[in-house]
């Protein structure tokens, strides 16, 4: 019953219920299938053979099988290859710049802090002077 070109329905797994063709017989238990399912190795137990047989070569390519399936107006599964996106690479120079900027900012803040303390001291001195002046009066 199982031969090259035999139409079958897959009864187990993700592709269950899909029509497929036997493309190659691998050994006593396994065959290569294609068509409505993904092109894959499959155990004979997981196939329910149908009456129809297609004329295809042994080990026919996915395109050949697709053409035959379209003639019979059967659904064909076509998978697109995954689009891989390049990861953004980190540039070291940019990082250094950021660090420098940060240091500069810190330095500036420190300078400002010193200034503030100086200003406070001056204020305190002026206050003392004014108080002393009042006492003297």
């Amino acid at each position: 019953m199982i031969e090259i070109g035999r139409l079958a329905i897959k009864t187990a797994g993700r592709d269950a219920g899909c029509k497929c063709v036997v493309v190659e017989i691998l050994d006593n238990n396994y065959v290569l299938i294609d068509g409505g399912t993904r092109r894959r190795k499959c155990n004979i137990i997981h196939l329910e053979p149908l009456n129809e047989v297609i004329k295809i070569k042994k080990g026919a390519s996915h395109e050949e099988v697709n053409a035959e399936f379209k003639k019979l107006k059967l659904e064909v599964r076509e998978t697109k290859p995954k689009e891989t996106k390049d990861r953004p690479k980190k540039v070291r120079k940019e990082k250094k710049k950021i660090e420098e900027k940060g240091d500069k900012g810190k330095k500036k803040a420190k300078k400002e802090g010193k200034k503030k303390s100086e200003v406070k001291k001056e204020e305190k001195l002026s206050d003392k002077l004014t108080k002393e002046g009042k006492k003297n009066k």
Binding site: I9, K10, T11, A12, G13, A16, G17, L50
Partner: protein, 90 residues
């Protein structure tokens, strides 16, 4: 003494270890019954037994097997269904 509604066994008791190091008794609602096959009533594999709030957070692929009738029929019954379909087409 626990609150009156916690004295019955409607809530299941779960021991939890808290960050302080103590083991504390938590009262939680009971889990729903296991998912069963629509045809032969066998317990389905690959379907988690959780409350709806947890099922909502789970991914779709984690809640049922990824095959036609997954989460509704068992694997044996799905095979039978597809075999019957194939044979009826002949």
């Amino acid at each position: 003494m626990p609150a009156p509604n916690k004295r019955s066994r409607t809530f299941r008791r779960v021991y939890r270890k808290v960050p302080g190091g103590k083991t504390v008794l938590h009262y939680k609602k009971r889990k729903p019954s296991k998912a069963k096959c629509g045809k032969c009533k066998a317990i389905l594999k690959g379907v988690p037994r959780e409350r709806p709030y947890k099922m909502r957070t789970m991914a779709k692929t984690k809640k049922r097997p990824e095959r036609p009738y997954g989460g509704a029929l068992c694997s044996k019954c799905t095979r039978e269904v597809f075999k019957e379909k194939a044979r009826s087409k002949k």
